[in-house]
Amino acid sequence: MSRNMMGMLVLVCRLVVGVVFIFASLDKLQNPDAFALVIHHYRLVPYSLLHPFAMLLPMLELIVGLALVLGVRQRGAALLSILMNLMFIAALSSALYRGLDISCGCFHTDGGHGVGLTLLWRDALLLLACLPPLFSLTLGPALPDLFKRKKPR
């Protein structure tokens, strides 16, 4: 694959994953109490960590999403998004295994999708989309490039 094509692939992956993460964070940031309840439904997080987790996760999603879209610290953001997707896949799998009939809380805190295999596939695809920005040698256009001075010839 040529360098330009790879750069384009990385850019598309970054934008897709970034926009998804930003969109996913908005409702949770506005309603942390409702999101805490959604997390509680999974019955995986102890009460002592429930609220800190409900406040940290959406903000991390937003910052990682912005970093990917803007191309700032994008390889670190890709790494974090891989870790978050792995966590989501583990939580969904655990809920499916235990037969919990709960909403996933992926984008909305008031209902939304119930946990199911479709969501696992979606998270797996998102995880795959995080790999090019992490491992590619070319990173695609980024916001900091706009502020770099061109070297005089």
Binding site: D33, H40, R43, Y47, S48, H51, L56, M59, R73, G76
Partner: protein, 175 residues
């Protein structure tokens, strides 16, 4: 460029830099969350109050005083759900052990001792969601009459409830 230097560059590119960047983003996130928490008037408390989520538990909660009464009346079975219950020094006297990790084996070992119609009080180390998970699984097996001890074993001991070494089932005793 030597092979060693090339390998070092690869490791730096694939691992070190992303890790450093990820750590930086995490620190920024923590700082922003901390600032938001201070500035927002409707911030969540740092520690969740279990009673806020009580309605979400799989079974009603019972406090220590009521649990002590039930213990004295003798109608309720007490079930220890702590992960390390079998190795623990003490548990509520006469309590059976059902742990999440070995749920099926524990339940099988207790087949002759507890029946679906038996009323029971489940307790753990005070972590209600963990007990609630086991309650869910018991309910799916037809055990309907379940209460959860709010404070766990610590609260029980503090209130002067009777404790004794845990009852080990046959399989565990053999091993």
């Amino acid at each position: 460029m030597s092979l060693q230097a090339s390998f070092r560059d690869q490791a730096d590119f694939c691992l070190r830099r992303p890790l450093i960047e990820a750590a930086g983003l995490l620190i920024v996130t923590i700082v922003v969350v901390a600032l938001t928490w201070v500035l927002r008037t409707d911030s969540l408390s740092l520690r969740a109050d279990p009673t806020t989520y009580e309605m979400e538990l799989s079974a009603p909660l019972v406090d220590v005083a009521a649990a002590l009464r039930l213990f004295d009346e003798g109608d309720y079975l007490f079930i220890d759900t702590r992960g390390n219950a079998a190795e623990a020094e003490a548990t509520i006297s006469g309590a059976f052990i059902i742990r999440e990790a070995t749920f099926d084996d524990d339940l099988l070992a207790l087949m002759d001792d507890i029946y679906p119609e038996d009323p029971m009080v489940l307790f753990g180390n005070g972590e209600l969601s963990a007990v609630s998970n086991i309650t869910n699984r018991l309910q799916s097996r037809g055990y309907e009459n379940i209460l959860i001890l709010r404070t766990g074993l610590k609260g029980w001991e503090k209130a002067g409830g009777m404790v004794s070494p845990p009852i080990l089932m046959d399989a565990e005793e053999e091993s």
